[in-house]
Symmetry: C2
Subunit: 368 residues, 2 copies
């Protein structure tokens, strides 16, 4: 696509401050913002990210702090996250007149503040929707909002939900090496917490007669207790292996060399990036039908899903027969970051022009 | 004072949302905002409070929610406080063009957002200053800020501290009935937590040979444990009596009928309202020299203070000899809400005029 000057947009991106914006980052949202930013820059747009100065991106960085907040808190240099996030949002708004679009990735929290922008704003919701978030969405019924899956917004009353556009996440297929030959183990990747259900992955693997390799670790106290009690005793180093945390490079080879990804998730998850990262390597997904699973997995093409663990066991074997190049190519059509960025750009260009009158005089709001 | 039209100010007040703004409220900050608002209204100003609709005030209320957040959370109708506070701040800012002054009472948190106001803003800090708050104060070096005591801001580096004005809290002396005759018990009033040190009050009272009446209750789990272990065993119903929580009316008679107020506080406290509420009834204060104590207590006039508990015992007896009408009159000069409102009004009128340019282009900010 030839970018003409006329179509060049000045775009501000405001991610959370927990993690840095980089190709390899601890933050799921920060990773999506990294993909979005670099692809927008590649297409000739002028992109500014309000984040910490340890970020690595082709976009311009307006740094709030020297390092991401997780590290700053670990080093005893910051305590209350909200102070920093609010400051970051405020400073993006202070310069909002210099942008064509101000794109927030911090959740419903920012919606009332977005009404103070001099330029069109977009809010992308990356996390499960809470009752407080619904309250804000219904109070600001006209605020432009996108979600990352249909299941994420299923709990929002119809009238408001119908105004929310869904843009599925994407991943960079060029950065995910493909393997045409199926691997010899089943893979589980995620936090070692009850919500992600690694204990169920172990159960399925045992019944399938295939070895399981678990990647990821428990993070908080509850997860450590769960892991010690329900997962650790089942790890035998032969049929059930635990390799701990993996970085971005290790993750790719771990997923690429797997026969299938098990995704027996029980908790609410807005999207489920690991599913499309597996598909991008050619590895099919076998999942419980929860949250976004039936939007992401195409039965018989990129994997299988079912409503109970028992039904998953035969599906594991069926998934091994899928053509891995079809898995990848089909997933690429639906979940490449190129498609994701196309959709965000289209949304940016369709945002209602905002006549600046000093705030939300023009933002209609429902009565309290 | 005759209020002319020219001097009539349109003032927006933004308190926290935890408690309602009312003559009798659970919230210390909300109580000060109530006093400020009603006195400003009495003087002919046009006052708007952004709060919950259960508030009781002579000012106009722009209601965010039907009830205060403590109640809303107890009823399972709200969960994350920050969503509501940020929304309240944002909505005050959305209409900031209709005010002459926008006066925030929510702490440093709001400073970067205040830079988006179309009208002059003032931030009053009501709580102890945290390192995150100092970070924000130094980032927004020109933001107009007031504190409630000098001790509260002692930890802020000189250059920034010197720009912060101190306006001591006040109370409504007309609403506090006075007793010229000294009472027969020592009084302690406050949360039954280790920071307020009721166990030390008991120790002082025992050594003084005077009975002690404790008002207040433990609130969180830590305080309940502390109370059960260190206070409850010392309550004998004769020399040490516990009457639990008191409402505004009960508080006045409780303080009025006391011989002296014991204030052996160990925790950081920004001001210490109970000291001036006692003085307003004619009851002297005997306190440990911590936090704001030496700014509030005038030795030999409204009470006494010392650096150790041992030194307080003889001071209890000296305090009984103070003339209670002098205690009240001296305190009235320094801590009436009339004086407090005079000072806020003077500060409002001295606020730098803000040329609106769409945000903080005019707010100088130090580099990160």
């Amino acid at each position: 696509m030839k970018v003409t000057n006329a179509s060049r947009l000045r775009i501000a991106l405001i991610p959370p401050l927990w993690a840095r914006v980089a190709p390899s980052t601890m933050g799921g949202v920060e990773f999506i913002v990294h993909l979005l930013a670099d692809e927008l820059v590649k297409r000739g747009h002028d992109v500014t990210i309000f984040t910490s100065s340890d970020s690595t991106t082709g976009a311009r960085v307006v740094p709030l702090t020297e390092c991401n907040l997780i590290e700053a808190m670990e080093r005893g240099r910051a305590w209350e996250y909200e102070y920093y996030e609010t400051c970051n949002i405020a400073e993006a708004l202070q310069t909002s007149g210099s942008f064509d679009v101000v794109h927030f990735h911090v959740g419903c929290y920012a919606i009332p503040l977005g009404a103070l922008s001099r330029s069109p704003v977009l809010h992308t919701l990356h996390n499960p929707i809470t009752p407080d978030a619904i309250w804000l969405l219904e109070r600001y019924v006209e605020a432009p909002v996108t979600a990352v899956s249909h299941s994420q917004i299923a709990g929002i009353p119809d009238q408001r939900r119908s105004r929310i556009q869904v843009i599925h996440n994407g991943c960079d297929f060029g950065a995910q090496a493909f393997s045409p030959a199926p691997g010899k183990y089943l893979a589980f990747l995620g936090r070692m917490g009850p919500g992600k259900s690694p204990h169920d992955a172990i159960r399925i693997a045992k019944q399938s007669g295939l070895p399981l390799v678990l990647a990821g670790q428990p993070l908080d106290q509850e997860e450590h207790a769960y892991f010690a009690e329900q997962v650790q005793p089942l790890i035998d180093g032969r049929h059930v292996i635990h390799i701990g945390a993996v970085d971005q490079r290790q993750k790719n080879s771990f997923l690429r060399e797997a026969a299938a990804l098990l995704f027996p998730i029980e908790a609410e998850e807005a999207f489920g990036m690991v599913m499309i990262e597996a598909m991008a390597c050619g590895t099919p997904v076998v999942a419980l039908r929860r949250s976004s699973v039936q939007e992401v997995v195409d039965v018989g093409k990129t994997g299988f899903y079912a409503d109970s663990l028992e039904e998953l066991v035969p599906l594991v074997h069926r998934s091994l027969a899928l053509d891995r190049s079809v898995v990848r190519e089909h997933a690429r059509q639906r979940f490449s970051h190129v498609r994701m960025v196309d959709e965000y750009l289209e949304t940016y260009r369709a945002l209602p022009h905002r006549e600046w009158s000093g705030g939300a005089a023009l933002i209609s709001r429902s009565a309290p």
